[in-house]
Symmetry: C2
Subunit: 289 residues, 2 copies
């Protein structure tokens, strides 16, 4: 039997949980002829508050499972993993194209800014890691970058509180001062450096005003993936088949994730997988619980 | 050399992260003559969104480390672990007194209520597990229990947003309807069923009003621990020595935890430990990273 051609293989998408479903949504819109294999490491989320060594270890374990199932490229939808684990992943999976969310977002921000002042909002872990300022300065050394950790936005997105008084006052508290400065001094571009944040675009836009360019990394990653598939002659001819994997709590994944994906997910659609090395050796992919 | 007398051993306190530091704070206030060994499983927090099987496994691993270091009793400060893992822990550590936060909170609520209507607020996982209603009904079968998941409160407490517009509107959104009913029908007692929630007592009190009894499980657990030590003749004569262990990110633990403990914590005070079974066998307690 002939091996399946590489371009018929699915695109792997990895995230620490449901946030990456906003990236998957953008990928499905941009690439309707591709099949997708998504893994949310829900047993170990959030990555954003964990140390770099732990994140690298978790990201390698999780991606290995996708690689073992045969993917043609890997999209790391998790900002935290993109920020700290991408070099280790590219080394571990030599030959497999790996795309993170940081570089496409940084490139889009550099293309969008006119006054050179770019704001980045993200989780604590991403901000502390400094990956966005580094990626922006690599492209545009004179850029001024204002980074702010907006951890509460994650909880608001997962609770479905994407509008209303709580989201509005949180956006005001995080962003009001930065975007309330004199027009010449405040950022003209805002990077949503966490996959949860596009869910809060309404209250964020209300605070920053209509003239600020908002860079949604989901959309920029979808464009980058499209280019990568063309460059590697890997474009597919599938029908958009979607396989969802999670490491824990499929009911919650389905409930919270439906809003992120913009499409109904049933708990029965989610395959529970085990990333524990011992469990994987013994159980060959069957749920451990 | 004589073995150290049992009552000179520390009290073990286990939580998924920093939340249990509110319980530790109450324990230190009530029992100043006791030494404490606290473990926050920060590498795997939060437990509140994880499945029951995972929580049991994590709780047993974490507690085993405290037991191995010689504790005289174990306080499970994590509501999620108390709700689902207490029977497994009592079986695994036969002979060691183990106290959870659910039963003392339920008992205090039953003692406080006059109209028999008790509200419980907690994380998603605790509410879905139904442990508080079960514990309350075991003591008072005719009680009416209204349980509400208040997941955003966790993020607000960790962000230090314990007052101000965001916390106030979140409290209003979660609790306004339940406590805005006709006086006869609304709960007269509110159980804070998550260790993070005492940090938000201000905005919570503002919404529920002055006549509602608020049961803070931290205080009730401290009383229950005091009684248990007396019953087992285990009261100590120490000087309140505190040892803090965490499984990841000691800087964040120190930064967020100081407010929860009500006492400054330096990152250097926190010992990083590994709960990975292979790592523990190989590394004998040294940090793995």
């Amino acid at each position: 039997m002939a091996a399946r051609p590489a371009n018929a293989a699915p695109i792997g998408v990895f995230d620490s949980g449901v946030g990456g479903l906003t990236v998957l949504r953008a990928l499905r819109t941009a690439l309707p002829q591709e099949d997708f294999l998504y893994l949310g490491d829900t047993a170990r989320l959030p990555y954003g508050t964990k140390g770099a060594g732990t994140v690298v270890r978790y990201a390698l374990q999780a991606s290995q499972l996708l690689v073992d199932r045969g993917i043609k490229c890997l999209v790391v939808a998790c900002n935290t993993a993109s920020a700290v684990a991408l070099p280790a992943m590219r080394t571990a999976f030599a030959g497999l194209p790996v795309i993170g969310v940081i570089e496409p977002g940084a490139a889009a921000a550099c293309a969008a800014t006119r006054n050179g002042h770019i704001a980045v909002i993200a989780t604590d872990g991403t901000v502390r890691g400094g990956a966005y300022p580094a990626a922006i300065h690599a492209l545009r050394p004179d850029a001024r970058v204002s980074a702010a950790a907006c951890q509460v936005f994650v909880a608001l997105a997962e609770e479905g509180w994407t509008d209303g008084a709580v989201a509005k006052s949180a956006a005001q508290r995080y962003l009001g001062e930065l975007f309330g400065a004199a027009a010449d001094d405040s950022p003209d571009t805002l990077v949503l450096g966490c996959t949860h944040f596009p869910m809060l675009i309404g209250p964020i836009r209300a605070v920053v005003g209509g003239k600020v360019a908002i860079v949604d990394s989901a959309a920029t990653v979808a464009q980058a993936t499209d280019r990568l598939l063309q460059d590697h002659d890997l474009r597919g001819n599938g029908n958009g088949r979607l396989t969802l994997l999670a490491t824990d709590a499929p009911e919650r994944f389905a409930r919270v994730g439906s809003a992120f994906l913009g499409d109904a997910i049933g708990a029965g659609q989610i395959e529970l997988v085990d990333l524990n090395p011992a469990g994987r050796r013994a159980g060959a992919g069957t749920p451990p619980r």
